[in-house]
Symmetry: D2
Subunit: 459 residues, 4 copies
Amino acid sequence: MCGIFGVIGHKEAAILTYLGIQGLQHRGQESAGIAVLSGGKLNVKTGMGQVREVFSLEEIKKFEGTVAIGHVRYSTSGTSSLANAQPLYATTSKGEVALGHNGNLVNAHFLRQKLIKEGAILTGSSDSELILHLIARSTAPSMEDAIIDSLSEIQGAFSLLFLFKDKILAVRDPYGFRPLFLGKVENSFCFSSETAAIELIKGKVIKELMPGEVVIATKKNYKSIQWKKTKEHYFCIFEYVYFARPDSVLYNIPVSLSRINMGKRLAQEGKTKADIVIPVPDSGIFAAMGYSEESKIPLSFALIRSHYIGRTFIQPFQSIRDFGVRLKLSPISSIIKGKRIILVDDSIVRGTTMRQIVNLLKNAGAKEIHVKISCPPTRFPCYYGIDTPTSEELIAYNKNVEEVCEFIGATSLQYLSKEAMEKSVDLEKKWFCTACWDGDYPVLPLSSKQQRLFSLKKQ
Amino acid sequence: MCGIFGVIGHKEAAILTYLGIQGLQHRGQESAGIAVLSGGKLNVKTGMGQVREVFSLEEIKKFEGTVAIGHVRYSTSGTSSLANAQPLYATTSKGEVALGHNGNLVNAHFLRQKLIKEGAILTGSSDSELILHLIARSTAPSMEDAIIDSLSEIQGAFSLLFLFKDKILAVRDPYGFRPLFLGKVENSFCFSSETAAIELIKGKVIKELMPGEVVIATKKNYKSIQWKKTKEHYFCIFEYVYFARPDSVLYNIPVSLSRINMGKRLAQEGKTKADIVIPVPDSGIFAAMGYSEESKIPLSFALIRSHYIGRTFIQPFQSIRDFGVRLKLSPISSIIKGKRIILVDDSIVRGTTMRQIVNLLKNAGAKEIHVKISCPPTRFPCYYGIDTPTSEELIAYNKNVEEVCEFIGATSLQYLSKEAMEKSVDLEKKWFCTACWDGDYPVLPLSSKQQRLFSLKKQ
Amino acid sequence: MCGIFGVIGHKEAAILTYLGIQGLQHRGQESAGIAVLSGGKLNVKTGMGQVREVFSLEEIKKFEGTVAIGHVRYSTSGTSSLANAQPLYATTSKGEVALGHNGNLVNAHFLRQKLIKEGAILTGSSDSELILHLIARSTAPSMEDAIIDSLSEIQGAFSLLFLFKDKILAVRDPYGFRPLFLGKVENSFCFSSETAAIELIKGKVIKELMPGEVVIATKKNYKSIQWKKTKEHYFCIFEYVYFARPDSVLYNIPVSLSRINMGKRLAQEGKTKADIVIPVPDSGIFAAMGYSEESKIPLSFALIRSHYIGRTFIQPFQSIRDFGVRLKLSPISSIIKGKRIILVDDSIVRGTTMRQIVNLLKNAGAKEIHVKISCPPTRFPCYYGIDTPTSEELIAYNKNVEEVCEFIGATSLQYLSKEAMEKSVDLEKKWFCTACWDGDYPVLPLSSKQQRLFSLKKQ
Amino acid sequence: MCGIFGVIGHKEAAILTYLGIQGLQHRGQESAGIAVLSGGKLNVKTGMGQVREVFSLEEIKKFEGTVAIGHVRYSTSGTSSLANAQPLYATTSKGEVALGHNGNLVNAHFLRQKLIKEGAILTGSSDSELILHLIARSTAPSMEDAIIDSLSEIQGAFSLLFLFKDKILAVRDPYGFRPLFLGKVENSFCFSSETAAIELIKGKVIKELMPGEVVIATKKNYKSIQWKKTKEHYFCIFEYVYFARPDSVLYNIPVSLSRINMGKRLAQEGKTKADIVIPVPDSGIFAAMGYSEESKIPLSFALIRSHYIGRTFIQPFQSIRDFGVRLKLSPISSIIKGKRIILVDDSIVRGTTMRQIVNLLKNAGAKEIHVKISCPPTRFPCYYGIDTPTSEELIAYNKNVEEVCEFIGATSLQYLSKEAMEKSVDLEKKWFCTACWDGDYPVLPLSSKQQRLFSLKKQ
């Protein structure tokens, strides 16, 4: 997953962009980058790691300029390397351009082969680079036209920010997989993957870009173009379940409320007698709030987050090699001991982490552990920007609910139904992508490896 | 404040100590250090910053040895500099020794003058260095005797770990201001400021050191000496209110439960009509749980923590210079809007942060904001290891509750009474230091500056 | 200027390449990089600065693989940035390829415009990137053919190393501006800009690539193709004068001997009475040896090199801002005082450094300072890979010898004649590029800016 | 060995001290440090490595203040660690003080035991720390008196700079083992181990401190005290042979001239037929100049220095593990081949490096290699500040000249006689320490280990 942010027309565009991508840090911690237009030249700096690791104060201070875009990345397509960090930059037939991309193209493999065959050279392994090539090859006279021209060739999930010649051009794909917002901060415009990052810099949200919409902003004003109309939208409902910040608002629905609703509906769908509701921090907090409110079982923060040490640090030492989740989460035994526990989290992927958490609670004296997941079983990979593993690695693809429950060692396990999940978000029209649960992919990927995965699903 | 941790008799003593001081990271983030006994030599590495910033994997791997102590520091006495980072190390008349100290001496000024007059050279500005000088000057024949000998000369708060000649010697001051625990991990012994750090490394707590107790551990066994008996103990109750981890247990009382009790008693002492209870994360979480449980007003996580940017980073940029707490905390407007809010935190120091938080909530649409503080008004500085400012800077020293409420802009403000706070901890004997609220200092500091502060209090 | 080095068929190819480019460090200190073929994948690491700053031991150890190429760069075309560091890497229609380039294309501007017009995207600003684009666009079936195909489109100076599919392909341009050698180390082949780097790794030189030659090496053998034949060669004679290492051999002529000869001929062309011959270290050492031998005036190392502090370090401090060359060179007054001095260096560019050196010697008590330059006056910029400034900035373009002498403050100034310089190298056929002295450029650059410089020359 | 430098009364004292210790970098590259008096407070920063590695520009800029001292260290006493880096700093009964020390105490072991017994705590392992303890314990009323008081207790080699209360106090030991100079830069005073560092910052040498002299400088003036008079001086003649910079002047004798004289006398003492004189760079350059001048055999720079890679970097790679001196020195075969060579260097310690150099020359085709050493055979360790190994490790202690010649593989080997060496320096009175050649130690060390070495010598 990735996050994108941009500012145009502000005398301190770089520091606002820096704060903006920090506000989107949860969307990607592998690499970060900022591109600034400074004296007619585009300066780009990218680096591996979190925003605060990549940029020093001196660098941000040097980034003078009134137009900037930034990006945070968690690799989904392409290997983890500096060459894939964004914003990407290129000199093209339409001038200099920088690009930040959130989402994943499903026809990347095909485009890649086509472009290489036509003589393009690819310097990274991500799909975002392909978009720049399409634009560079477009025969449209202006950059704007070339961008819109190229959009027809790409398929999949893409929210894009282009920075070129004193403009920022923002694009949302026709299905609307990933969010994108236009805002105002002081007298300048800003763009962000989520509303929370706009509010962080004291900005106001002007509007959410609709699927198929392009917004072109200059320092003075902006215009909107509906470059493509589609009857159906497929917004990623997992943004509500887990990915987006709880203080963001998507399609006018507050993320926090949708999560609270999921928790309530979990309680409605399966009544369980218990003493306390414990969220897995931080992913399960809001669903746990809803569960507690609905079930009248008290909410308790009996699992707390610890300082985290990376795997590479643990591995060399025999005595701590198996500590696992214990280094991330601490149970409060005095609360847990002898209790019947409702444990709430957003999802189970491979099952190994949840098994360790259940075990931690058992060792802390829990009498019963009822695991409640605020979405249906995750059974299929995401081709639209979330880094889920293949079906073979997803525990719910290989096991039914009882088997998963047995694997994680819980007293009981309950998933939220798809209907309840959708109702929790309460959009007027239920235009969601729910492929990771039901395998109904709105846009089909094309690579042979992906084809194989599809056939797996049909079995 | 500081945290100390040690391991003796374990073949991977250094990595356990590394994890141990990470588990105590909340007690001090200014500097960190580890001393390891390796081939008969003491190796010490200290550095500024958090544990994970100070030590690389390579360094921890090189720290071979079966005895180690570690320290995390937040400066309370002495300026913030590498020279004051601990463990301190010295070659003395009794051999090599390393020292980690949690607490603050009240007769440091006097000892400093005395030692310098006698020809000692001081290389830092902290009080802990003085302890090593006293030991070096002791005429007692052994290190053990010299340490116990020297303890009679120091006054104030001190939990100490000494590492020397294949032994760890742990000391707790006669009043018991700061906690200290002995534990067992596999077949080795460990020491820790808090129980949570022992549990982090899968250890078991053997016992809490009592005030005036010394425990001397070798690889094979340990012995306990009551080096001084005092009728009265003065354990820092603020450890329950704020400082210790919620998953630690002090004097057999779980910290989490004492905080939940404080929240319950807050609700009992002052009934307030409201829609939701919001904790200031993470300090107000457990008191908020108690408040919610007692008042039946739902608990809501409508303030969430953000990534933090340091002051030095913000200062150069005009447009974000005043962002303040906004960069640390984000309100969830969709929850807050139109609500009557109970806002729970552990304390108010200068009042400026709370004023900003109240303002954040107002801007997010809160209808009423009732601030609930889980201890009495903080009016006096701590001389025993907590970095509270002088009385002049403490808002509750200068203003009464109504005036503080007006300053922070809240609808109402309620502090927990001292009696309710003490009952919340529920120790059989109520042996607490409560000086920061009532100014009753169990041990008197001696410097002229401190004397002035005392006289201020009397006014 | 740049240096290139490669190894194929050696189990420790990366460390040998690391040493190889360190042996070529004098050819470029702005950036460094290594590409290694590892398990069928090309791994590339580049960084700003010297070789030892760019690569850690850990990184070199991870670079497993039996084929590697490396590059050191001093920017001549394209700005100084990480995007321009080499080896360049791309995925193309012919597979993955890495490229290291020494030299400068004169039709880069034209190619750049053409490629961009055709839809290419350029990610850096150097000319080397263009070569990869030409190859990618070639319709030739194999990489080898595509490379040779593309060579016909590029004009100027280019010695190239391509790494692709278990092969290294080495190219020298038809005029032979820049050197390139094939060598053998143990049972593997290596390539290097200079012989000294081959000897550094205990290798033997097999042959120098001739102008217009391509050598394709696999792990087992190599083959040579004369891809283009030209009647005339234009080897950069400045490689003998200054650029190459004194322990290298070019066209079978040892660089050290050619420099000694230049010194001898300087002494023959202009007899000067003096007490000692002082070289400017290290550039003037070998010419000074020759001058001393011929003139029988003793050689003296009365100027010694100091530790160097960069300009950015000096600038903020008023009291040292004007120290200039004083921080790089120290005169030994006891030797210099009262002496008539022959000061030998390889060239004068802007004249400011030489003026400072003459001034240093004057202040150290020199009676007379006779400056001897081992080549003719540098009057024209180099378009073939050396970073000389424009004619306007070259002091010898604007002033005659007497005026230059006056500017630098010397007692007298003598340049070596072009004929003597050429005789000093003593090649059978005098196939040299001497454009920086006489403006006779063998291949014409095409950009408008360069055209202007040509017209300047004609005046 | 170490270097010390200080400035008092200059508004940019820190940057001048930074340059000063860079000018003394050859005297120690293990650690570096600067102490600055700033607003009445002493700020000290030390670090491992060379000066430019230890200090960033930002740090130097922050070091405001008009008084500063600096130090570079190569460990001779005490292990290599940050705790031993200087300037040392302490708060004492006489106030705050910083100390830089060049030299080595011979009664350190005794003082160490005495001080520890008296209750001192030692934080490092170097002898310099002991001096601060003696001062702190002195009953003299002022710092000045306490310093002079303490000097009577220390024995051995010591040139010292103390910074305290707006003064710099410089001390040279009664035998004058190590040099120390007072200079003037603009209107301020400076101190330096060598004259070259004073000239580097455009200062003028005022005077060399005489053995037993103390100079106390304030911002306005200085005064000199002869704190101890001794009939005999023992200046380290190895400073002339190798250690000092060639552009320094010691006891009014230019170091360069003394080295040239040594080379001349080498030629006089042993006539050898040869074709060229090659210096080992940089240590043999000036003696080679003298040898060439006297013998009329031409001087040739046929060995050149390369970029250096550390041992840790080489070790992991099998193919380069044995490269040794080849990575530091490159022979120019075209000059060397078939020649009879005079190879000049300053000394042979263990013999292994010289053996590798001789071997390099042989492989480059040398016909004969006559090694000329510009001092007598080094047979005894230095107790006065130079890091020579024990006698057992010194090749000339174990072997006679013929055997050493055989070991290094040279055609012949000649050492300069002690008389010729002394005459080369040409001091009026020959007050030299020549212990490393003849074992006549002017001041006796006292440790048992050192006693054993003495007895070894007597055999």
